[in-house]
């Protein structure tokens, strides 16, 4: 839908300017950043694996480049981003289907909001994502 321009728009600063408010805004921002990170990884992944089409030598060279410790940390960050993005995405899908936000209520001060009502779900999602990320860390750096 078209609307008139809003020249005083906060822009990307509006994503991070949430220091006084609920932590759902940080989840919102982190969800966007991890999504962009995963897209960047997929592009890089296709670029690296496409070296196979150029022959075995190109493939070996590409593997040499990405087998260093820096790339191992990078891969782990991708995994952690995936863990957060996937679990938080499930939380958002549940909320978008009307779960955990409650029914309309009579607004009586101090107001109870859907944000507070779903807070336990948000905390649970963060904990699950943290467990998956920790498990991935063990697999990447200890058990590997």
């Amino acid at each position: 839908m078209e609307s008139r321009a809003r020249p005083n728009r906060l822009g990307v600063l509006g994503w991070v300017g949430g220091g006084r408010w609920g932590f759902e805004r940080y989840l919102y921002t982190l969800h966007r950043l991890t999504g962009l990170g995963l897209v960047a990884y997929f592009v890089m992944h296709i670029f690296v694996t496409s070296a196979r089409a150029l022959g075995p030598e190109s493939w070996e060279q590409a593997m040499d480049v990405v087998s260093g410790p820096l790339f191992a940390v990078g891969e782990y960050l991708v995994f952690a981003a995936f863990a957060f993005h996937a679990v938080n995405g499930i939380r958002l899908a549940l909320i978008e289907l009307g779960f955990a936000v409650g029914r309309p209520i009579e607004p009586v001060y101090p107001y109870a909001t859907s944000v507070g009502r779903q807070r336990r779900l948000a905390r649970a999602a963060l904990m699950v994502a943290a467990v998956i990320a920790l498990w991935g860390g063990l697999d990447f750096f200890v058990l590997a």
């Binding site: 906060l10 909320i95 009307g98 309309p104 944000v115």
Partner: protein
């Protein structure tokens, strides 16, 4: 008594006059504040003593009209509903609501929000065109049906939710929490039959799916309307409708004509408001 007497606070104000100023500028004025004093009272004091040309919008002074939405210490609030004491500190920073244009100083241009609001038909839509144009009587509604939208009907259109929303901050095409919340208010009304017409209006990409539940709109709403909840319930209704599981119901019927004791005091219906068609 210590701590309850007058104290001096600095009002840091964002001044901007489009057409004259190239950039917004910040002004600081120290005024004496007393317990119970609101930010709006402080602005009046600044205008009276230091900055007579300072402009803002306000009317009721009691959190009802929704005129005095401002960015106060980094958070969208009603100036009349915010006491200086509750902010803490000795500096009160006031700017026009962001994510809107600025008319002058602390006056946001809410026109874009109201245009979107109007596009989403914030009124009862009836299936019967004759009834739409010339309503017969009241429509029947149970208390339970009223509760499905009552919370959303408390919106005062102050624009605080739009200023707090991080999606509105970056996406000029997103309808925003206020218009979407009000669309859901009417979609949820048993007297309304406009769900599909509003859905078509929202199909251009600026609809509820742009919301990713940052929840700021509900956090800052001064009336407890909870636009984030309204938007999620709208998404649920759209999914249910897409799956063809939405129960199709006609709008609530016209209530029976009262009989028995005749109504007193209403000799005749008020004259119709003139329309564009005459």
């Amino acid at each position: 008594m210590a701590g309850t007497g007058p104290r001096r606070v600095t009002f840091r104000l964002r001044r901007f006059e489009p057409g004259t100023d190239r950039e917004p500028r910040w002004e600081e004025h120290r005024v004496e504040v007393s317990p119970g004093m609101t930010v709006l009272d402080g602005l009046w004091k600044v205008k009276e003593l230091h900055a007579p040309s300072l402009a803002w919008r306000s009317s009721c002074r009691m959190g009802i009209c929704g005129s005095c939405g401002m960015l106060i210490n980094g958070r969208p609030r009603l100036a009349c509903n915010t006491q200086v004491a509750e902010l803490g500190g000795d500096v009160v920073t006031v700017a026009a609501l962001p994510n809107f244009g600025t008319v002058k100083d602390l006056v946001p241009d809410l026109g874009s929000m109201f245009e979107t609001h109007r596009d989403l038909m914030p009124y009862l839509l009836r299936d019967d065109p004759a009834e739409q144009d010339d309503p017969t009587r009241e429509y029947r509604q149970t208390p339970g049906e009223l509760e499905r939208y009552l919370q959303f009907s408390y919106c005062i259109k102050c624009g605080c939710c739009m200023a707090a929303c991080p999606t509105v901050a970056t996406d000029p095409h997103y309808a925003g929490p206020m218009p979407l919340g009000q669309a859901q208010r009417y979609n949820s009304d048993s007297r309304d039959g406009g769900f599909r017409r509003r859905r078509e209006t929202l199909s251009g990409g600026g609809g509820p799916w742009r919301c990713h539940f940052a929840g700021e709109c509900s956090q800052v709403c001064p009336k407890g309307v909870d636009p984030a909840k309204a938007i999620q319930l709208m998404k649920r209704d759209l999914v249910v409708d897409l799956l063809r599981l939405r129960r199709r119901r006609p709008p609530a019927p016209v209530a029976d004509e009262p009989h028995g004791t005749p109504r007193e005091g209403i000799a005749a219906p008020p004259p119709r408001t003139a329309t564009a068609e005459g």
